[in-house]
Subunit: 722 residues, 2 copies
Amino acid sequence: LVERAVTRIVTPGTVTEDELLGGDENNFVAALTGGDSYGLAFLDVSTGDFVATSADSRQQVRDELGRFAPAEAVVEPGVDAELFGADCMVTRFREDAFDAASAREKLDAYFGAPERRLAGDSEIRACGALLSYAEYTRAGQQDTLEYLNHLTRYDPRDYMVLDAVALRSLELFEPRSVHGREGTTLVDVLDETSCALGRRKLTDWLRRPLVDRDRIDARLDGVEELRGDLRTREELAEALRDVYDIERLISRVSRGRANARDLRSLETTLDVIPDLRELLVDADSGKLRDLRARLQDLSDVREEIGSAIVDDPPQELTEGGVIRDGYDETLDELRETEREGKQWIRDLEAAEKERTGVESLKVGHNSVHGYYIEVTKANTEHVPENYERRQTLKNAERYVTPKLKAREDEIVRAEGRADDREYELFVGVRESVAAEAERVQDVAAAVAELDALCSLATVAAEYDYARPEMREAGAPIDIEGGRHPVVERTEEGFVPNGVHLGGDERVAVITGPNMSGKSTYMRQVALVCVLAQVGSFVPAESAELGVLNRVFTRVGASDDIAGGRSTFMVEMTELADILRDADDGSLVLLDEVGRGTSTADGLAIARAITEYIHDETDALTLFATHHHELTDLADDLGEAVNLHFPATQTGDGVAFRHDVAYGAATASYGIEVAKAAGVPDDVVRRARELVERERERNAVEGATSGGAQEADGGSAPSDIED
Amino acid sequence: LVERAVTRIVTPGTVTEDELLGGDENNFVAALTGGDSYGLAFLDVSTGDFVATSADSRQQVRDELGRFAPAEAVVEPGVDAELFGADCMVTRFREDAFDAASAREKLDAYFGAPERRLAGDSEIRACGALLSYAEYTRAGQQDTLEYLNHLTRYDPRDYMVLDAVALRSLELFEPRSVHGREGTTLVDVLDETSCALGRRKLTDWLRRPLVDRDRIDARLDGVEELRGDLRTREELAEALRDVYDIERLISRVSRGRANARDLRSLETTLDVIPDLRELLVDADSGKLRDLRARLQDLSDVREEIGSAIVDDPPQELTEGGVIRDGYDETLDELRETEREGKQWIRDLEAAEKERTGVESLKVGHNSVHGYYIEVTKANTEHVPENYERRQTLKNAERYVTPKLKAREDEIVRAEGRADDREYELFVGVRESVAAEAERVQDVAAAVAELDALCSLATVAAEYDYARPEMREAGAPIDIEGGRHPVVERTEEGFVPNGVHLGGDERVAVITGPNMSGKSTYMRQVALVCVLAQVGSFVPAESAELGVLNRVFTRVGASDDIAGGRSTFMVEMTELADILRDADDGSLVLLDEVGRGTSTADGLAIARAITEYIHDETDALTLFATHHHELTDLADDLGEAVNLHFPATQTGDGVAFRHDVAYGAATASYGIEVAKAAGVPDDVVRRARELVERERERNAVEGATSGGAQEADGGSAPSDIED
């Protein structure tokens, strides 16, 4: 019987088994505290990533949760657990863990002087409670969390805000459709990383685009240098492909869960470091030089593992054969005894054949009876006196001799002691490697950044991206020949489009037939800005970009029926957030605002909102609409402008163009689309008749409606930048 | 070294491991052939479910695929694999498997005379190819598929058509939102089953609602009887909870993959059958009497297992201890030898103590040296002559005697032979059970139906459902006090609503503020009809329902950006399908048609489509719209009627009501919603001003627009049924 005891508690946020974790994604458990401000902490138990921040409002809490998408959370009693979405399991945890004194004490044990690392009580309490919870899930094996030695605090203001709505509608990480395919998210198309470390780092960068131009430029410098040097980039990528997930490996080592293969994988990875250093020896940019400096050799760790562990160790430690010959004298002696014994037994067959004259005599071994000398029944008369019968087969007898038995005992004893010794030695190696966890983690972080930069450089080179020029916050956005980074990969003949937003063209009202690409166009502008602030080159001929503090999106939500909030309510709530929080450093995307109510109400709301954004927020805004009535806003508002996607009527059909131009669309082509989709001719004919009738009715009214319809086919927005 | 060979090929459609399969869902692999008509076959390798059908059009193929949602498919070369969605892996398989002659031969080996079971060449080729593929994934172990002995052909016309669009928008199986929660699908709220068999059956019924009134009534009779007898229902449920997944068990038995515990589980389950029969002994309805008749006792199978296998067998067959004492003489003898030997050894210690006078003498065993007699160093002088030294410890010596050694050999030999014998006997039992696979499957099917009926009865009783009265196809739908089966569970104060559709009220145009529940209302009408045709009671006070051959839905699709089809194109394509296929036996739900284009085009298309449906298809139609302009259709079209959800202005706010009434809504309350959502007051004020201005403009035009706005607060549709 095996004795059973609780040694771990497995929860969604604290699993560490590779099989249960995606290799490329962090798996966070979060803690949330209240008080003067909210304290937030995120921990990935499998990698040791541990970050903390504060938030002033519920909305800001939601925004930061959106970045990390924790799988699980512990929440201070009394703080609203509803802030977490349905994807996150909220776990009740004992109240005293959130207590300031005990949190401080807990943190102190891991990091020392929490005040130096964290801002304020709430953060300290969140971090402390999270550590307590992580220890709790280890069922009291407290010492096994010692690999948690990096705690990073960040200020939300250091990053572009991308709330859950924006992350979803821009499809940074998840396709919006339930039935979305692979390769349809931003992270998919940017990911040319070579190892899991790099993939997680790239994801982290996307989650938190920078707002500091110096930091952005530093990354861009690194990307530019790597982009220009195909040879180095390819060699780096090849070397990085040999990199195992050392963040998780070292965490397993520290937790005493690593086996010999894990240590070997760690060593193999560390073997790559000198190559990486060598490849970066001529690096110019500050970023790459800094990374090179951080790629410590760690030759002591490598040698420790290399000298102790055999090249291809077995999966199970108990199988033996883990420790190299020559590493330990005692072990070597035991193995020598074993070897000599086996050699003696191997020689025995020949010796006994000669002694007995029985040519068919055999020495063998089976697991139940051990070693034996087998003699066929026909020859048993030649068996010497010191043979003891052991087993009778149909055609043969099996014997042992006292000497053979003694040798066998010797071998078995030596084997047993060698196994014990090996295990002892292995644990010693593992512990001495664990003592270097912090240095290994530093190297892992540098490797991760290098891989992420290489990935961005590869994408920049292979997909013809341009280096963006970053302007100060509030400056205009100018993009020439911009493309949607995801759509351009999947659609042939993608048409690039420029944009100029800023100055007296801060608000653009976009009209044009469906399928012409209004939504894609708006998203592409946002994605170009996000990519730039991640430190990536951008899919465009050129781009000069004011740094954005936030991207807001209000694009088609799906119904939320059982949730009791209708599409329209969701839409209005999101809009209210935008109108409250947007400022002159924001980019706002509005797609078809005001659809979920009566046509008259919708039109009025859309117009009132556009006026408000224009007059009050100063945000850069793209607003796609089917309400052609709104195009007269460009006349009424000083900093608004009309854009449209033209279409050409061709005989009985219609050709959509995908190049944006100044001016309002003169017609919409919904009926043509209906026809192309196979709607019966009778219906199409009747719909045309109805539109025509309405047009005539409006014509009778004459110019009273005041909508100045600009001519089709104006100049493109990028044209006027020159 | 273990010799390795390919013994199975694991693919998404052919996995059989419980850990990889959801317990409640079938996992289908499909085959598709072309020719005069399409042939379709679906096989669940884990349960042996095997069905086939034909389809005349690509659309029909899609509809049938939608029902079964196969994980994998093999497709005849030359047939369009695009018919399968992104969730299905299409596997290339050798061309000759689709050959008519070889398919016929393959089928013949399993079922005999395929012509009697299947309609036409395409079906035969699909089934034959699918069998070949299933065998292929077993890597040539052809005989292991013998549990496939049920092949059911169905005619799509025997079931209500629910295509993928309808399944999704009615949320039968999957929540529509990516972030949907548990409990928000129809199958979730209907599932009160007690075992996996019943869950799969219930899912299958939902997938294929009936159209034959006799079959529907037969199920309803069964549900009604069980609903009325709480005691029997609870006892049935309790008995069914002890039922293992015998479909998968018997499939494992047939494939030679079942262990002793599996056989035990099978027996435990069969033990329940007499209880079930007893509980049904007074059953009245034809359905329950039929099920009782199908619940064969299978006492031979139970006894076979019960007499051979011990009560609590070990997981691994190789551990021994699987077969009962008294089942086999040889085994009993071997065990007796073993027992006697061990007893002799147990007695040895006392005997040797007495013989040697050494009180501390011990008899022990270790895995390397076997049995030994241990004497402390202080007493070795008392050791008799026939002791042979075996091992030296620090404080003791260990010995054997020739007799002890001989006894030990005897025990080891007997153990080895007993293990072999046990395995042999076990395989024999398994094979004789496998020979009864078909009978076990018949019983499993009856158990599954009984569980599904109990589940429906429980839901009917606990949630106050009513028995629907089924009318012939084409007859009106009359529901009084209908509820949405999913939403009523999650929302407090759900307001029931009736509907009358048919006769001169075939097309209902529904207006009213957002959040009043237009979408929920339409879906609830469709779900009541679907439930009824599944054989379930329905969430309503009463319901008289014409049988529907199909439910069409056109409700808000989410964008499909990278797919190159815009929301509007998707919408129009779905509409074209509806206009082509709907007839007087169809129910059509349209939600906000014509939104994705300019306001003028959208309105014209919506009007033309409504006219077409009214004049040409004769389908029963619910059309929710924000185009209040469409309410004048009720005046123009003979069989159209207006419905609306009223709202009441209350001081500065608005109160939504959720009770539907005749007549058109007089106002929409979008601006009030915007205000409630937190949109700034300035925006709200401005929007009101704009609406007012537009209203004045229309008032000037006077009665020229012709829209007769009916008064608010008319009578409810259910009122007029009496």
